[in-house]
């Protein structure tokens, strides 16, 4: 990293752990879980496999955030700004999907699973977007 206090060298790409890829992996896990749940609708999907995929998604997303929170000299202001707007957009999308499931009388454990998968979905995409933007931004001083 070539950065003096108060200056930012935009010609150099800093090295980061695979935070974006972990968030994308979490997204992939819950999308596979969602496809599985949808494939069985209106029957009850095998909840064990869906739960396993949800847990995988949560673990990958938690790993992404753990690595992210350990970053020093990071553009947190930029990350926060992008994350909040993206979270708003994906919360609306997730709410629409949740609404469709509730409207179709999905209840009990399947609804809880779908809801938690949507939480991972609505968090992982903004994490990936905000990290990709912030990694190239001027770090907070």
């Amino acid at each position: 990293m070539t950065m003096a206090h108060g200056t930012f060298d935009n010609t150099v790409d800093r090295e980061f752990p695979p935070i974006g890829w972990l968030a994308t992996g979490a997204l992939g896990a819950v999308i596979v879980g969602g496809v599985l749940m949808a494939a069985y609708a209106p029957r009850r999907a095998p909840l064990g496999v869906a739960t396993g995929l949800l847990v995988l998604g949560v673990v990958l997303l938690a790993a992404a955030w753990t690595l992210l929170l350990r970053q020093k000299n990071f553009a947190w202001r930029t990350f926060s700004k992008v994350f909040r707007w993206a979270l708003l957009a994906y919360a609306v999308t997730s709410a629409m999907i949740e609404f469709a499931f509730v409207r179709d009388h999905t209840t009990g454990a399947p609804l809880v699973l779908v809801t938690l998968m949507l939480v991972v979905f609505a968090t992982s995409v903004p994490t990936s977007i905000a990290f990709t933007v912030a990694r190239y931004a001027d770090p907070d001083h």
Binding site: L27, G28, I31, G34, V35, A39, A41, W85, A100
Partner: protein, 203 residues
């Protein structure tokens, strides 16, 4: 994320800071249209309104497939042959529109499509369309991971990069390569969607 919109000039690779207008990452003028689409889809689902569901699915799906095919197989290869400043100038005008259009048409298509499938009984294991629908879920799942996890972060990062006083042209080129390749993949996957959907409609 929203800034004042004006015409964007191509960024210098590593030149001196110029007086370039800011790019509006999310075009605010488009948000009322998005809100109308969201409310319309919600009303269609709430009322199980066949015409409205079909309208959302056909309009959303047609636009989604058309845009993906055109961008992936026509715009993408052209973009790949342009110089980095030319790519950047094109992207400054093109990508903010995609940021608004694509999530909206995808949301319209998927939400209404799932509801239609339930309503028509295509989700039942006994339906002749069941296997085709599962295939479409898989195709959409792959496209979603590529579009949301790889393509969209790169697109938005390009727009932020171009708003810097001295944008890094090499970085913009690299992020745009990600866009060009992933758009090509989703374009090809839309061919699979066309085959699946025409099979479902004619079984």
């Amino acid at each position: 994320m929203s800034e004042v919109t004006q015409n964007a000039a191509p960024p210098a690779s590593h030149g001196a800071p110029g007086e370039r207008p800011k790019i509006q990452v999310v075009p605010l003028k488009g948000l009322p249209v998005v809100a109308v689409a969201v409310v319309f889809v919600a009303v269609a689902i709430a009322g199980n309104w066949t015409w409205a569901l079909m309208f959302c699915h056909v309009v959303g799906g047609g636009l989604w497939t058309g845009v993906d095919l055109f961008v992936g197989l026509v715009i993408g290869p052209i973009l790949g042959r342009l110089s980095i400043p030319a790519r950047a100038e094109f992207s400054a005008r093109f990508m903010p529109k995609m940021v608004i259009i694509m999530p909206t048409v995808v949301m319209m298509t998927l939400a209404s499509g799932f509801q239609i499938a339930r309503k028509l009984g295509n989700l039942l294991a006994s339906s002749p369309n069941h296997a085709w629908l599962i295939a479409s879920f898989i195709v959409v799942g792959i496209m979603a991971v590529i579009a949301l996890g790889v393509l969209e972060p790169a697109n938005i990062a390009v727009l932020f990069e171009m708003n810097k006083p001295v944008p890094n042209g090499e970085r913009i080129g690299r992020l745009m390569n990600r866009f060009i390749y992933t758009a090509g993949i989703t374009g090809l996957m839309q061919v699979a969607t066309l085959i699946i959907m025409t099979r479902v409609a004619t079984q």
